[in-house]
């Protein structure tokens, strides 16, 4: 005979029924407000605990991470510095390329001349004279008196030379005079330098009607410079009725303060006119 009490586990059955009922209610969505109400403080508490834990974890692990970040930062900074150096080098190469390209254009524009390119390596130590040092000399076929130009125009001519370097007298030097021609009037004039580096034009005939904006080119007279090399532009004219000649100020096309690369015209032979200049004879 079996004991009826032991056959039906009422407490278990009750719990199962409650559980099933709750599941059915939950599936039906009837428990959502109740669960929200019950879970809200739990979630808040969990969030609070989690945040504190995260804060503590960051606090304890931060030094190691900062070191890593610093290391990475240093690596990136080094890379940035390296890239900046590369940018500067490339910009310098681009600048040189532009200059050389312009010089090539100039050489193509005057195909009758032969050129030797040279870098400007220094300036005369005396501030009273306007000379530059270039890194080409007689070993490169350069000779005294050869004209020096840039892509913009006339620079000067070689005055002293060694095997591997030369001293170029700029047309801005106070002792320089260059025979020039003004275009389009074709008036002849004499260009002279000054201690300030400014260029002036003298000996312009009074009958020449010149004005600002006229181009100044070498005339070739005197035999020191080849003809038709651009020098600059007239900026102002000074003319007085009682003067024999007009004078003018001009703006050179070449930036003499920032000369970097120049071209030496090697197949121009300067003419020495000194034997033709009459000397006073002794009676």
């Amino acid at each position: 005979m079996m004991n009826p009490k032991s056959k039906i586990p009422w407490p278990t059955l009750t719990l199962v029924l409650i559980a099933v009922g709750l599941v059915i209610l939950a599936l039906g969505g009837y428990l959502t407000p109740l669960s929200r109400l019950a879970l809200s403080p739990v979630i808040s508490t969990q969030t609070w605990v989690s945040e504190r834990f995260q804060a503590l974890r960051v606090y304890f692990t931060a030094p190691r991470d900062v070191n890593l970040v610093n290391q990475r930062n240093a690596e990136l900074e080094a890379e940035v510095a390296h890239l900046q150096t590369q940018i500067i080098e490339l910009q310098q190469q681009l600048g040189e390329f532009r200059i050389l390209s312009a010089l090539l254009d100039f050489a193509r524009a005057y195909p009758e001349y032969q050129y030797v390119g040279a870098s400007v390596i220094g300036r005369d130590p005396s501030p009273f004279v306007k000379y530059i040092h270039i890194n080409r000399g007689s070993d490169d076929g350069l000779r005294r008196g050869m004209p020096v130009v840039t892509q913009q125009g006339l620079v000067g001519r070689i005055s002293q030379i060694t095997a591997s370097a030369a001293l170029v007298q700029l047309i801005t030097d106070p002792s320089v005079t260059v025979n020039v021609r003004l275009e389009p009037t074709r008036a002849e004039a004499i260009l002279s330098g000054s201690i300030t580096g400014d260029l002036g034009l003298d000996m312009i005939p009074q009958d020449a009607s010149i004005g600002a904006g006229e181009l100044v080119l070498t005339s070739g007279l005197g035999g020191n410079y080849p003809p038709n090399i651009l020098i600059g532009q007239v900026t102002g004219v000074r003319s007085q009725d009682y003067d024999l000649f007009q004078s003018a100020s001009m703006q050179p096309v070449v930036d003499f303060a920032n000369l970097e690369i120049v071209l030496v015209i090697t197949n121009f032979q300067p003419v020495d006119l000194s034997p033709l200049i009459p000397t006073p004879s002794v009676p």
Partner: protein, 167 residues
């Protein structure tokens, strides 16, 4: 002998610096003269007895690097050295003051000699403009560099002329 020979590398280096850097950074039209400053600072050193040698060597090297006649820097540096040695005896207690004073005198002597030689050679130099645009800016730059150059040259002089200790 060695202090006199040391002038060759020193002035060669200075000539390179002068032509490639200093002459490219003018104030108006004036530039500093490193060689002049070193010659003055060297002549002001107590134990130095090769001031004349340095003046000649410095002048010759700058004369070679310049388009000017070689005699111009040599003569102007020699006159400056004479003035410096004279001042060294007068105001020996304040060498830095002597440095400034001789820089002033040396710059004027050097520029006057250069301007005179160019005028003799036929170059037209407007004196007022020359003074305003070249000499005064150069003088300012030279005075500015006088103190640091004096300190460097003093170290060089101490190195080349170590102090003798009497036992």
């Amino acid at each position: 002998m060695i202090p006199a020979l040391a002038a060759f590398p020193v002035f060669t280096l200075l000539a390179i610096l002068q032509t490639s850097i200093v002459s490219r950074v003018p104030l108006l039209q004036g530039t500093a003269d490193l060689v002049l400053l070193v010659i003055i600072a060297w002549a002001l050193q107590e134990r130095v007895s090769t001031a004349w040698h340095w003046a000649v060597i410095g002048g010759a090297i700058i004369g070679l690097a310049s388009s000017l006649s070689i005699y111009v820097p040599i003569i102007s540096y020699l006159i400056t050295t004479a003035a410096t040695l004279l001042l060294r005896r007068r105001i020996w207690q304040t060498p830095l003051l002597a440095m400034f004073l001789t820089t002033l005198i040396g710059t004027l002597i050097s520029h006057f000699a250069t301007a005179l030689s160019l005028s003799i050679a036929g170059t037209a130099l407007p004196w007022a403009e020359t003074l305003k645009l070249i000499t005064l800016p150069s003088l300012f730059l030279n005075i500015l560099l006088a103190a640091p150059i004096y300190a460097i040259v003093q170290d060089l002089a101490d190195w080349l002329h170590p102090e003798e200790i009497k036992i």
